[in-house]
């Protein structure tokens, strides 16, 4: 499941779509870590990987997209 998700992240060529898929991938990883009995890591991965990182990617894209008017 995580492997499949990682593959889609890489294959998503268009960065906008990729940001979304990364967010899902972060969430999937977070859940996987819960299965691994690692609550601390799961919490931080979910918070960071599913929220903060895609946020930064979207902002970077806004700057890059916005630039090409």
């Amino acid at each position: 499941m995580a492997g499949a998700c990682a593959t889609c992240v890489v294959l998503a060529r268009d960065p906008l779509r990729q940001a979304m898929v990364t967010s899902i991938y972060g969430l999937v990883l977070g859940i996987l870590f819960f299965l691994f009995q690692a609550p601390d890591v799961a919490l931080s991965q979910t918070v960071v990987g599913a929220v903060a990182l895609p946020m930064m990617i979207l902002l970077a894209l806004a700057k890059v997209r916005g630039g090409e008017e």
Binding site: V9, A19, Q37, I57, A60
Partner: protein, 119 residues
């Protein structure tokens, strides 16, 4: 069952590296790098896993029950932070590179050959 998590981690490394080499867009390249980083979390955590053991938090569970290895989790926690901050730094670099080079394709980012975007 015993080799699956490692196999998945190795697959993610391969996919991440493939993404980096063939990427056309710098932001895409940075995301593939962070995907590859996540493979290291998988490897670390699957090493420390103990079958049918509880999480290493003893708030409710009596002391001494079989627990998963806490050191590995501390390492992964640090690794998550490191992976995220490096990705953020690289995103900042690519935004600035876009402004300076006008393009995000790493192929055309050559030293001393900035394509100033005109109008």
């Amino acid at each position: 069952m015993s080799f699956l998590p490692y196999a998945v981690a190795v697959w993610i490394v391969g996919v991440g590296l493939y993404g980096i080499v063939t990427s056309r867009d710098l932001v895409h390249l940075v995301i593939c790098l962070s995907v590859m980083q996540s493979a290291s979390y998988l490897v670390l955590l699957s090493i420390g896993y103990v079958k049918d053991a509880s999480a290493p938090v003893f708030a409710d569970v009596p002391l001494g029950t079989r627990a998963v290895d806490p050191v590995v989790q501390a390492l992964t926690l640090t690794d998550v932070v490191v992976g995220t901050t490096v990705t953020a730094l690289l995103l900042a670099l690519s935004v600035q590179a876009h402004k300076r080079y006008g393009t995000l394709d790493p192929r055309r980012l050559r030293p001393g050959r900035a394509t100033r975007r005109h109008g």
